[in-house]
Symmetry: C2
Subunit: 333 residues, 2 copies
Amino acid sequence: MTNPRYDVIAIGNAVVDVIASCDDALIEELGLNRGGMTLIDADGATSLYAAMGQAREVSGGSAANTLAGASMLGLQCAFVGQVCDDQLGEVFTHDMRATGIDFDTAPLPADSGEPTGRCLIFVTPDGERTMNTFLGAGQFLPAAALDEDLIASAAILYLEGYLWDPEEPRRAMRRAIEVARAAGRKIAFTASESFVIDRHGDDFRAMIEEGLIDILFVNEHELASLTGEEDFEAGVAAVAGKVPVLVATKGPEGAIAIANGERAEVAAEPIEKVIDTTGAGDQFAAGFLSGHAKGAPLGECLKRGAIAAAEVISHYGPRPEVDLKPVIAEKLS
Amino acid sequence: MTNPRYDVIAIGNAVVDVIASCDDALIEELGLNRGGMTLIDADGATSLYAAMGQAREVSGGSAANTLAGASMLGLQCAFVGQVCDDQLGEVFTHDMRATGIDFDTAPLPADSGEPTGRCLIFVTPDGERTMNTFLGAGQFLPAAALDEDLIASAAILYLEGYLWDPEEPRRAMRRAIEVARAAGRKIAFTASESFVIDRHGDDFRAMIEEGLIDILFVNEHELASLTGEEDFEAGVAAVAGKVPVLVATKGPEGAIAIANGERAEVAAEPIEKVIDTTGAGDQFAAGFLSGHAKGAPLGECLKRGAIAAAEVISHYGPRPEVDLKPVIAEKLS
């Protein structure tokens, strides 16, 4: 087993977020799944976009957001995801590379009929985001697009549950897991959303039982869906022994982690005003990984996660807008 | 002369702003024109974009920004500008319509080789924006694209100096001026930038001398370029008698207006922190017009401008992010 070239390689959705603030009445009127993520098709994206107020476009995608944060925090990162050779694909690619991430998955041709994916995000005055994702090109990431040497060259393979839903990327991720394990690497997995667990929970539980997941990120809702336990602690107890590292977030109530029998907790980092919760979990994972990669104590890993999450919910968009390194250094000192 | 259907119709650049924060060293290293606007070609846009940090995309364009603000403040608005039938064109079009603006200029076909324009904006820690504009499709707005009935149906025809630079839109604007004047409408003109005045100042001065401009918006630098007077008051004196309404802004030092011999002044509205000055002048014009359209006293028109400008410089992006109506109502009461 050679020394890893990357700290983290992630496979995830390659989407651009289209973010508009809105009032609660519009969520109601459009019948949206408030606070959740819903998959929509091209027609749905067109009609929903027409109903949306003026928006800003910011590169998104759960695992991609985590990598952007992790890269800004000093980790060597690479990304695998499917864009189209169009303007939004150019935006997504630029933003990944601009944060120092290696991203070389070949885009689909412009005339493929599968444009780069986008996520229409309605942000209500309470800062809650309601996401509607048109996966576009993202759902056609083929296993053949994987550079297996690249996968094998990263200490951690990071996978997002969202991408487990479409068939081709799921096959690609299964193959990536084999490659990473054969190379003696670790697998980190973020459960992403309850609806994904409702559809693919059996897969996830099987992977956990087989010991294929080394670091599991869940929030309290996903933990409940995954374990069938409504009670948070019961959920933690059900899964903690089966993964070497469990990180479970509870929104404004902070987060816990259990690693090799040790348990640590962290409170949510206080902030002035929650503007947009998009990316909170993604940046929590980024902060956690930035500590984990250098062997920091479990409590510090959690604290890093809480600080990164606090930054991202204080503005629109799912990626850090300030240099997180000095922010974290100051808050840890 | 029939009653106008619109309060304002604007002809302007149709561009999407690509905004990234950066440190002063990068401005230096890239040799950018700090604080100014520079036209770049497609190759320049590609290489500059590659040097840019992670960005957000927000619809821009000077006159288009003003209309967005004016529309949010209750004016009936229509826009004429040239996008391409591509994703950025879709973004620009959506954002115009989402603020209630009628915008129906036919886009150039996707295979025209002229994509929708974009403006790469580097924002330094002092909040100053350095703009680099690839006009793309915008510079090909033909006079034939004008709906002359539409032009004639607006109380005010609002033109931006930036668009005076490329030849086709300049011809279109000259034609629009004729149409508007024949219909007994007013012409508002924003000088946009010193470099435009350096190139086309003779045109602008001739239009002013001929009495073709009813409302002139300038900042202190543009006023100096236009009049050759370094001293602000000397500049004001040189032009005030030649336009029915003169609005001259001075950045953090506020603004003055002179209309039919009456003079009013306003201080800049205090804000906590200047994040991004992009769109400050555009929103000043929007606020001013929202008062002017309903015959508000000159001092109130200026105050509305100052409040709108203060909102837009307190966040990234050139258009209001909060509902300006209640903000202005509260500050005026």
